[in-house]
Amino acid sequence: MTYLKRDARDEIFSGFSHGDLEGIIDENTILVQRTLRSGQSIRYDGNVVVLGDVNPGAEVAAAGNVVVMGALRGMVHAGAGGDENAIVMSFRLQPTQLRIANHITRPPDNEALEVDRPEIARIKDGVVTIEAVSTGSERQAKVT
């Protein structure tokens, strides 16, 4: 089976409508394959996916979305260019500070963040809200 390069986009994706591709695909993404330690930072004009933790004192700033497949304990800024549709998703969302576009939020005082499930932060009705990431099976349970 042959795997195609980025410019052969119409051939990479099969089974999608042309209109779908425009809205769904964002090829401007970097994959960071390690944990970020305190003092390290990533600033990227696109999406950032981290395969590891973001330790306290580390920073991730992206013009697009940020996905941390680990514990996000540091500072994160999605939609750093002003995009309010940007999201932050993490397996353990425990940031020291979370920013989306111009909104800056932090966890409530005096509460130790105990998270045991993946969560996603986005702007809803003008406010940064954090929800559990619902998997397919949970969505099914809600319906029935």
């Binding site: 330690r37 305190s38 003092g39 390290q40 933790d53 330790n55 306290p56 004192g57 514990a71 304990r73």
Partner: protein, 264 residues
């Protein structure tokens, strides 16, 4: 050809100097030839902790500045033949030495000593850069406090960037009672963030204050728990597999009695 190990932490006051003195003394007590190097120029402490401050004639800046040879500056320990100290200068500061000079010095010391242990100053600036320049391996010391762990993480990142990979961790001043009460970070919490191999854990111990003031490293004291912890760490450095010290303080006779009767 010896090995150069730097003992660092980022945060000040977590036990780098105490650890350097005790590991060095421990290794020398087991018959190895050890040189301890104090790179905290301007704020030297290693000589005090070893009880050798009255014997300082030349220091590290004299060696790097060509005023004397290394052999003239090295001070032999008053208890152990195999242990030597290269003291820091007190009347200068960290700009008095450069990383290149440190590299050359470490190379020279490696020829003569099996272990060269470098006491790194706190911080991430010139002093730190000097201390790690000639090192082959690193030990990161931290205490179970959020601020210390934050700094240790930063230091580990800097060590990795300087290609000193696989640093080992020493957790100092742990209080098992507080950990159980949830008031202090536990070993697992710290390893979760720092993600490096654990070399050893040292319990909070009043004997450390007493022995550092006296200039007699606690590793030579047969009774104290911290001394035992340092002896275990020394053996692990030599490649031996030593089980972790049982840190649960039994609280003396009444503590044990209470335990038997089922009271806390």
């Amino acid at each position: 050809m010896g090995e150069v190990i730097v003992v660092t932490s980022g945060k000040g006051g977590v036990g780098k100097t105490t650890t350097t003195a005790n590991i060095g003394t421990g290794l020398a007590a087991l018959g190895h030839k050890v040189a301890l190097v104090d790179t905290d120029i301007g704020l030297r402490n290693l000589d005090v902790v070893l009880g050798l401050e009255n014997r300082i004639v030349y220091d590290i800046t004299d060696v790097t500045g060509g005023v004397c040879r290394v052999k003239q500056a090295l001070i032999r320990d008053k208890r152990l033949d195999g242990l030597h100290l290269l003291p820091a200068a007190q009347t200068k500061d960290k700009t008095a030495v450069s990383p290149d000079q440190m590299r050359a010095l470490c190379k020279e010391l490696k020829q003569e000593f099996e272990y060269v242990i470098i006491d790194c100053p706190a911080g991430i600036e010139q002093g730190f850069r000097n201390a790690i320049a000639g090192a082959d391996k690193a030990i990161v010391v931290t205490t179970p406090e959020v601020s210390a762990v934050r700094d240790a993480d930063r230091i580990i990142g800097l060590l990795e960037a300087a290609e000193l990979s696989d640093p080992k961790l020493i957790i100092n001043r742990i209080r098992p009672k507080m950990v159980r009460a949830g008031d202090m970070m536990g070993i697992d919490d710290m390893i979760d963030i720092l993600a490096i191999d654990l070399l050893g854990v040292i319990p909070e111990d009043e004997m450390i204050v007493i022995t550092t003031n006296r200039g007699e490293p606690v590793v030579l004291d047969q009774v104290s728990r911290s001394g035992q912890a340092y002896r275990n760490i020394t053996r692990r450095l030599l490649g031996e597999e030593v089980p972790m010290l049982d840190l649960e303080d039994t609280g003396g006779f009444f503590g044990r009695l209470k335990k038997i009767m089922g009271l806390k």
